[in-house]
């Protein structure tokens, strides 16, 4: 078979693309309330419900759910909040960080949970919304701590740099801390979830097409292999989803610490 023939053989297959992320509305006609928005609401209720239930009925001998809840809470409290922000101020930010971590984690896990299979933050607007909250939080903390002018000074003038070069550094520091930071924070989460989901639908749809729509045994067997790989990639995605939820929370804590610090 010639190469042209092989290319023609794949013509019936429509490769997945960014269009696959535009899902139809769930209720009525509003495009604003599609599957991602529904998942966001479900995850908020689920995370709140989980921690409400597991912390309400605290028993001396903890149930399995209470144990998981306490372990997760303790992990964020101690190895993220306390270690990054420092023992003096960390306690009041623990609820925010714990909520952020588990909210993002569950939304990411939706990407591989059977029948749900859509990571909410693969729609960039949700990730940007989350980054705006973090941006308001750390800038707010900075202004509360240092005053508006003091915070601007804190943000734009790094310690250890003196002399005329400071004039050149000030706009650069302002750009990188105030403008670039929230964008990279959102972009990292969004791009990881987007790429992961795209990879999964490519392998799943491609495998299914090779298996069912080809009359060649070789293509059929490659299709089976592709579907097995899709399962393997799901496990890789599980790792990415965990890491991204952790990185987002860790960076939030680092930004809070940076805004609180006496010395830049």
């Amino acid at each position: 078979m010639t190469t042209t023939g092989q290319v023609l053989g794949a013509e019936g297959f429509t490769p997945p693309g960014p269009g696959d992320f535009n899902l139809p509305p769930v209720f009525g006609d509003s495009v604003l309330f599609a599957k991602p928005a529904l998942l966001l609401v479900v995850s908020a209720v689920a995370v709140f419900g989980f921690f409400f239930v597991t912390s309400r009925r605290t028993a001396l001998v903890p149930s399995k759910a209470q144990y998981v809840g306490e372990q997760g809470y303790g992990f964020i409290r101690n190895s993220v909040a306390r270690d990054v922000i420092g023992s003096q101020h960390f306690l009041k930010f623990v609820p925010w960080l714990v909520a952020t971590f588990f909210f993002i984690l569950l939304n990411n896990l939706f990407g591989i949970i059977p029948l749900i299979q859509f990571p909410t933050f693969s729609r960039s607007s949700f990730a940007y919304g989350l980054a705006v909250l973090v941006w308001l939080l750390y800038n707010g903390i900075g202004i509360w701590k240092h005053g508006l002018l003091g915070y601007l000074r804190h943000v734009t003038m790094p310690a250890g740099i003196t002399g005329p070069i400071l004039i050149l550094i000030i706009p650069l520091e302002f750009f990188s801390t105030v403008l670039v930071r929230p964008v990279t924070l959102a972009l990292r989460l969004f791009a990881n979830m987007f790429a992961g989901h795209l990879l999964l639908i490519l392998f799943t749809l491609g495998g299914e097409y090779l298996l069912l729509n080809s009359d060649k045994v070789l293509y059929n067997s490659v299709g089976v292999l592709t579907l097995i790989l899709a399962v393997a990639i799901s496990f890789l995605e599980l790792l990415v989803q965990l890491i991204q939820a952790y990185v987002f929370t860790l960076l939030t804590a680092i930004y809070i610490q940076g805004a609180l610090a006496e010395d830049h």
Partner: protein
């Protein structure tokens, strides 16, 4: 981890990325404005390179303690 907080904030690896994008973006913008004003065309790339150089200097100075 029992290091002082300052060390942890320096451990944000994305700070370097922020400096590079911020530096290149801001000084390319300044160069472009000057280009419009002076009717030249070399100041945008010059500003871009200057911004990148400044960002690299900052990364070395602040985060690598050079």
């Amino acid at each position: 981890m029992s290091e002082p907080p300052q060390r942890v904030s320096a451990a944000d690896p994305w700070a370097a990325f922020g400096y590079l994008v911020g530096g290149a973006g801001f000084y390319a913008g300044v160069g472009w404005l000057l280009d419009q004003w002076l009717e030249t065309s070399f100041l945008l790339p010059a500003g871009l390179l200057f911004g990148i150089a400044l960002a690299i200097y900052l990364v070395f100075k602040l985060h690598l303690n050079a």
